[in-house]
């Protein structure tokens, strides 16, 4: 995964700074939280968007899952353990975990994204890899690769969290040993209010955005990123909210796995 040339790199950086300027401009116009109307999509501060998880949706992959989360539509699939190509990447003591998070060209409600990896998707792939490397028992499969694919078919805020939730389920049904099923959720702040599960507009125009992934049984944090301004008190509250909502998501993940194996007469 390499960015092909300097020109492209500069173009992308311009887009990123351009987006930032756009964000600054629009911030003053949009009201993201109002005590009566609540959030821009009508949700309460501590309310998750409605979501559905489907396990085992693809035939070729070892494990797969598809999640619809608000307007997000994310497909995840797992291959492995399998031979490492190119060979020089293999580790004689454990399996290597590779994650590819990608946004489809048609996934944005704005313009078309250029296909292929960019700096943002590469960073997201990296932090997601850290999540799964923690729970997968890689020592059981030296000299192999475990490939996790997360394809954002339609993105509408918190895609890395939804992507992790999908990939967790795909891994859980793939037969690859893992000690726990990671759960991810985003928390943040808009108009002074701590909220959970940020929609795209809240992510772009809000005051803080913090995606978190945890290992539910031990409550350990496997992913944490933050962008914005939070006081220590606000941070603590946001974290509590994340853990509280993670329980709901975990239940749904487990249910989606078990129900995909139910027998229908």
């Amino acid at each position: 995964m390499e960015i092909e040339d300097v020109e492209e790199k500069e173009e992308l950086e311009q887009i990123e700074t351009g987006e930032k300027r756009e964000k600054e401009g629009k911030k003053s116009e949009i009201i993201l939280y109002d005590p009566i109307k609540k959030r821009i999509d009508g949700r309460e501060a501590d309310e998750l968007r409605s979501f559905k998880i489907y396990a085992n949706v693809l035939k070729k992959a070892n494990g797969s899952a598809y999640v619809e989360w608000g307007r997000n539509k994310i497909l995840s699939a797992v291959y492995g353990p399998r031979e490492v190509i190119p060979k020089h990447l293999s580790d004689p003591y454990k399996a290597i975990v590779r994650v590819r998070y990608m946004m489809a060209p048609f996934s944005s409600i704005e313009g078309r994204n250029r296909p292929g990896p960019n700096r943002r998707s590469i960073e997201i792939s990296k932090v997601i890899k850290d999540v799964f490397e923690n729970v997968i028992v890689t020592s059981k499969f030296p000299n192999t690769a475990i490939d996790v694919f997360i394809e954002v078919l339609e993105g509408h805020g918190s895609t890395r969290c939804v992507g992790i939730n999908a990939a967790s389920v795909a891994l859980a049904v793939s037969g690859i040993p893992m000690e726990d099923i990671p759960v991810a959720v985003s928390v943040g702040k808009v108009d002074g209010k701590i909220i959970v599960d940020l929609i795209k507009e809240e992510d772009n125009y809000g005051q803080a955005d913090m995606p978190i992934a945890i290992r539910p049984n031990t409550e350990e944090i496997l992913l944490m990123q933050m962008d914005g301004k939070l006081t220590i008190e606000e941070f603590k509250n946001a974290l509590d909210l994340a853990f509280e909502k993670a329980k709901i998501i975990q239940k749904a993940q487990i249910e989606s796995i078990k129900s995909s194996y139910k027998y229908e007469g």
């Binding site: 693809l58 070729k60 992959a61 497909l75 489809a104 944005s108 292929g116």
Partner: protein, 257 residues
């Protein structure tokens, strides 16, 4: 794909008796399911499953400058991704020759048929709409061409063209551009000298060559022959005839969704 490779002998033996490994008739297609408007972020979208092959097509309509030789027309592009999650044989990296061929075949049929009136995509001087069709292969069990073509046509059937106002693109205000023609794709494989429709992945591996034709009601819009085997002229006429017959069913199917 070693298990598929090993099926070659069985497939060849069955074909010599006009039988196929999954029990289909020589000219039977697998079950087709079409879903339209599956993505709210795209100006057009559709998902097609053809047997176990699953394809998603998303279409984005963006502001663009026209080609210098066609200043009053919008632009069209087709791109395909053989996602690595769709098959253990698809590698991570830039588009392979297979992905590029797929995109170009679909591009030719859509462009030649003029099913999208590119003149309607003209906005003002030096500004036009570009229609960008992205084919996402999600699950590969053979015949990605026909499935992609069907999904692409279903996705552009009722394309949402945004509004351009005061220098801004407003996507939630749109007009629908209806498709003017249905360019539909029919792919055949030659195995042990016999011709079959809609090869699955194992059959693709066993085949000597393939023939794809993109058809309108009484018109051929595109042709692509692939593979190192060869076809006789009579075989080509036969395949086109079969395609024209099948086209009626496909058209009904796509219109009924």
């Amino acid at each position: 794909m070693i298990i598929e490779e090993l099926k070659k002998d069985t497939i060849n033996n069955l074909i010599k008796n006009n039988q196929r490994i999954d029990g289909r008739g020589m000219y039977d297609y697998r079950e087709i399911k079409i879903e339209k408007n599956v993505l709210t972020s795209a100006e057009g979208s559709a998902k097609v499953s053809l047997g176990n092959t699953q394809i998603l097509v998303g279409v984005k309509v963006d502001l663009a400058t026209p080609y210098p030789e066609k200043p009053d027309e919008g632009t069209l592009s087709v791109h395909a991704e053989l996602l690595p999650l769709a098959s253990p044989t698809f590698e991570i990296g830039p588009p392979s020759e297979e992905a590029i061929e797929l995109a170009r075949i679909i591009d030719r049929g859509i462009r030649s048929s003029e099913c999208i009136d590119l003149k309607k995509l003209y906005i003002e001087e030096d500004k036009v709409w570009s229609v960008n069709i992205d084919i996402y292969v999600l699950d590969h069990d053979g015949n990605m061409i026909d499935a992609s073509g069907l999904a692409a046509v279903a996705a552009i059937e009722n394309l949402k063209i945004p509004t351009y106002e005061d220098g801004e693109v407003i996507r939630d205000k749109y007009t629908i551009l209806q498709i003017r023609e249905y360019p539909l794709y029919f792919t055949f494989s030659k195995i042990s000298g016999r011709i079959i429709c809609d090869p699955n992945q194992a059959e693709e591996i066993a085949s000597d060559c393939r023939f794809t034709v993109c058809l309108g009601e009484d018109m051929i819009y595109a042709i692509q022959k692939g593979g190192r085997g060869s076809f006789k002229r009579e075989e080509i006429f036969e395949m086109i005839e079969i395609g024209l017959k099948k086209r009626k069913d496909f058209l009904n199917l796509i219109k009924s969704v």
